[in-house]
């Protein structure tokens, strides 16, 4: 009887240890997984906010409500610009397609806005796509 009881308890003990180990590993796995997802999601969430801030800073450096083609060679301080930005003037309404790019490091993530570009002669404003590159 004692022998049989010892086997049961031994099996149960092993099983309990196995379950506890599995639980620890499961928590570690879950934490690892959610942490990665959480980080990714949080990163993207803050990315939208940050891109808006970058856009505001950039516009403030130019014309508040528009980018000034004459000032495209004087970008805002790069430290406030994430990894940088790309501006693509769209070929619409007789405006030529033009590119300005201030990219630091490797590509991270870009979030676009539509802005206007005051042409150097001040005669008209053209549509452009502003892509903010996040760190």
């Amino acid at each position: 009887m004692l022998h049989r009881r010892g086997i049961y308890e031994l099996l149960l003990g092993f099983f309990l240890v196995f379950v506890l180990l599995f639980g620890v590993l499961f928590f570690l796995f879950l934490d690892n997984q959610t942490s990665g997802l959480y980080a990714a999601i949080k990163g993207r969430t803050s990315g939208f906010d940050e891109s808006e801030n970058i856009r505001e800073v950039l516009l403030a450096c130019h014309g508040v409500t528009f980018l000034d083609a004459a000032k495209m060679d004087q970008p805002c301080p790069a430290k406030e610009m994430g990894r940088g930005f790309t501006v693509i003037q769209l070929p619409v309404n007789g405006c030529p397609e033009r590119h300005w790019s201030y990219v630091q490091g490797s590509y991270s993530e870009k979030i676009p806005f539509v802005v206007t570009i005051l042409q150097e002669d001040g005669a008209k404003k053209c549509l452009a796509r502003l892509e903010v590159l996040l760190p």
């Binding site: 939208f48 769209l90 008209k124």
Partner: protein, 513 residues
């Protein structure tokens, strides 16, 4: 044994529940935060996108999209007229948005959020319309109030009065807080000439200027002086035409609203210009062309009162001209038929020929002449001068004509049902009764395709008629680009956008994923 198995199962359940709770707490909150961030970004993106498009310049006209959209809403038409020609505003926006968002990747709808109307009254200042002007004057505050109530408290309702003649506003404006402008002949016809248009033209003359030049060679009518021979060398003054030239008055009001820089603010907050014009005679009067060619004052008077030859061509040319202008300027014109046979004021006729104009008792030329001699002297027939040298007795034929409407008190059956004020006192006169049916015809020509015709007794319905027209315009104004696809995943922004001219629009933009 069972208790141990149960305890193991419980451990499993606890572990799984803990994991699930951890997952839900961390991941879901992060996920929803991400969703909110994305929504906020998409709304900002759409708003700044539309604002950026508004700020840019359209290629063909050089105008901003903001100005084009404002013009489309003011004109309630997506094809607007600009200095550079007609522009399809919807197509212009489509081109820009296709480049930004890609074709078939969006749907946009723009609705006007504010409505305003400008109402211009064009009133004939002649004596025959005196009572009708009073009806219009009394109805004016109610019409303005009703329009405000019907179009909404925020709607702009501006009212102007243009009075044909040199001095009609003085009386009309009493007790009325509405801007009123007199339109003497030179102002009214000067405006027509400035726009390459023509005042009335008489048969036998190629232009108004030719007739006016011929008139200048005649001696103008003099006011009678007691004891002095009357002047009979007379020419019809231009004001005899312009004071009742309501069609040219409509043209003036139309251009004034469209071009006057002082009305720029009013134009910006008004989607529709409405011109209201009552009339009881043909445009430029129902007096026959021949009357304006008479040289003797008594001939003029006789013709003006008794000649029932209606100046159809003269008036028709004016109303046709007015119709072309108001259609071009996109005005809405309401013509009010006001022929009421209630003429009982005669100062102008008194000035010209008589001390007291009363046709009824002038049964003989002598009596008539006596009546027209200077009262109360009652000079003998020989002193009844009519301007010839030596003075001779002249007949005053207008009172002796069997069918002179101007001299005949009409029977009750002949009076229009709306006539009231003169019926009881038996003082009604139906001047140019033969032209009565032509007046609505000519009004219909003028409002054809751009307005409405109505009777004077319906004047209290003006606001309702205008509102009905406005509702039709708003419902007919469609500014939609792309396809509204309910089944596609999308981010939707809906907001009120203020245009640079103060107009507000409601913009609904769907950007498909």
């Amino acid at each position: 044994m069972i208790d141990k198995v149960v305890s193991i199962v419980l451990v499993f359940i606890v572990v799984l529940l803990g994991g699930a709770l951890l997952y839900a707490a961390v991941f879901r909150s992060a996920s929803s935060e991400q969703q909110l961030g994305r929504q906020g970004y998409e709304q900002l993106y759409s708003r700044t996108l539309f604002q950026a498009v508004l700020d840019t310049n359209e290629q063909a006209t050089g105008m901003t999209y903001d100005s084009l959209l404002a013009a489309a809403i003011v004109q309630l038409n997506t094809t607007v007229k600009t200095d550079a020609g007609a522009v399809d505003v919807e197509q212009a926006f489509r081109t820009a948005l296709d480049n930004v968002l890609g074709p078939d990747n969006y749907y946009i709808q723009v609705d006007p959020a504010l409505f305003g109307v400008s109402v211009s009254y064009v009133l004939d200042s002649t004596d025959t319309l005196q009572e009708e002007r009073l009806v219009i004057k009394n109805s004016l505050p109610d019409t303005t109030r009703d329009l405000k109530a019907l179009l909404g408290e925020n709607a702009s309702v501006a009212v102007h009065v243009y009075m044909l003649g040199a001095d009609g506003c003085r009386n009309f404006s009493k007790g009325l807080n509405v801007p009123c402008e007199d339109l003497p002949t030179e102002t009214l016809y000067g405006s027509l000439f400035a726009h390459g248009l023509s005042p009335p033209i008489f048969k036998g003359y190629s232009s108004f200027s030719e007739w006016a030049g011929a008139q200048r060679n005649r001696t103008p009518l003099q006011q009678p002086t007691a004891g002095q021979p009357r002047s009979t060398s007379h020419y019809a003054m231009q004001s005899f035409l312009s004071d009742s030239d309501w069609a040219s008055g409509v043209v003036y009001a139309s251009y004034r609203y469209k071009e006057d820089p002082l009305l720029a603010v009013e134009r910006a907050s008004s989607n529709l210009h409405i011109i209201i014009v009552p009339a009881d005679e043909l445009s430029s009067s129902s007096k026959a062309d021949d009357c304006f060619l008479k040289e003797k004052s008594y001939e003029w008077t006789a013709c003006a009162i008794c000649d029932n030859t209606c100046p159809v061509n003269r008036s028709l040319a004016l109303v046709t001209q007015a119709n072309a202008v108001v259609r071009k300027n996109k005005d809405y014109v309401i013509g009010i038929y006001a022929f009421n046979c209630d003429y009982k004021y005669n100062p102008r006729l008194n000035d010209m020929t008589t001390n007291k104009y009363t046709c009824g008792f002038s049964d003989s030329s002598e009596a008539c002449c006596l009546q027209r001699s200077e009262e109360p002297a009652r000079k003998p027939p020989a002193s009844c001068y009519v301007g010839d040298d030596p003075p001779v007795l002249r007949e005053y034929p207008w009172c002796e004509q069997a069918k002179c409407d101007g001299c005949t008190v009409p029977s009750a059956a002949e009076l229009p049902p709306t006539t009231a004020s003169c019926r009881d006192t038996n003082t009604c006169r139906c001047f140019h009764k033969a032209c009565a049916q032509l007046i609505p015809d000519h009004m219909r020509v003028m409002v054809n395709g751009t307005g409405q015709f109505m009777e004077l007794q319906e004047v209290n319905q003006l606001a309702t008629i205008i509102q009905s027209h406005v509702n039709g315009l708003v419902q007919g104004f469609k500014f939609e680009i792309g396809t509204r696809n309910e089944t596609r995943q999308r981010y939707v922004t809906e907001e009120k956008v203020m245009l640079s001219n103060g107009q507000a629009v409601r913009v609904e933009l769907w950007v498909y994923e």
